[in-house]
Point group: C2
Chain length 78, copies 2
Amino acid sequence: MGSIDYERIRQIGTISESSRGWTKQLNLISWNGRSPKFDLRDWAPDNTKMGKGMTLTLDELKALKDLLNQMHELNETV
Amino acid sequence: MGSIDYERIRQIGTISESSRGWTKQLNLISWNGRSPKFDLRDWAPDNTKMGKGMTLTLDELKALKDLLNQMHELNETV
C-alpha cells in the first residue's frame, strides 16, 4: 500500500451527479506536490474518495473543447 | 481473466499524441454489445491496446462543453 498526496488547487465545475451522490468533476489538482494538472474524475460525496478519471493538459482541454464545439448532437436546443 | 468486446461506432477525434504514439481519443463505443457511450481514453498505436479513460454520457459532454467554454485560459489566442 502507498499513499498519494493531492491538493485541490481549483474546482472548475461538476458535470454530473449519480443517484448515490458521486459527482464527476473537472478540477485543477496537484499530485504529490508536482505542478497542477487538469483532472476529470468521479468523487464520492464530500470528496472523501476518488474514483476513476484522467489527468489532462491545457492543450488537451483546448483540443477537447474544439471537438465538443464541432459535435452537432451537443448543439441541439430543446 | 475475462474479455471485453467493444465496437468503435464512431471516431470523433484525437486530442493529443504522446512521443510513444499513444493517442488520447474521444470515441463513441459500444461495450459488450450494449448501447454506445462516449469514451475519452488513451489508445496505443494502431488502436491495439487501450489505456486509462472514462465513459461519458451525452449530458455529461454537454456540461463539459459549457465548462470548457467558460474557462478563460482556453480562450487565449496566440
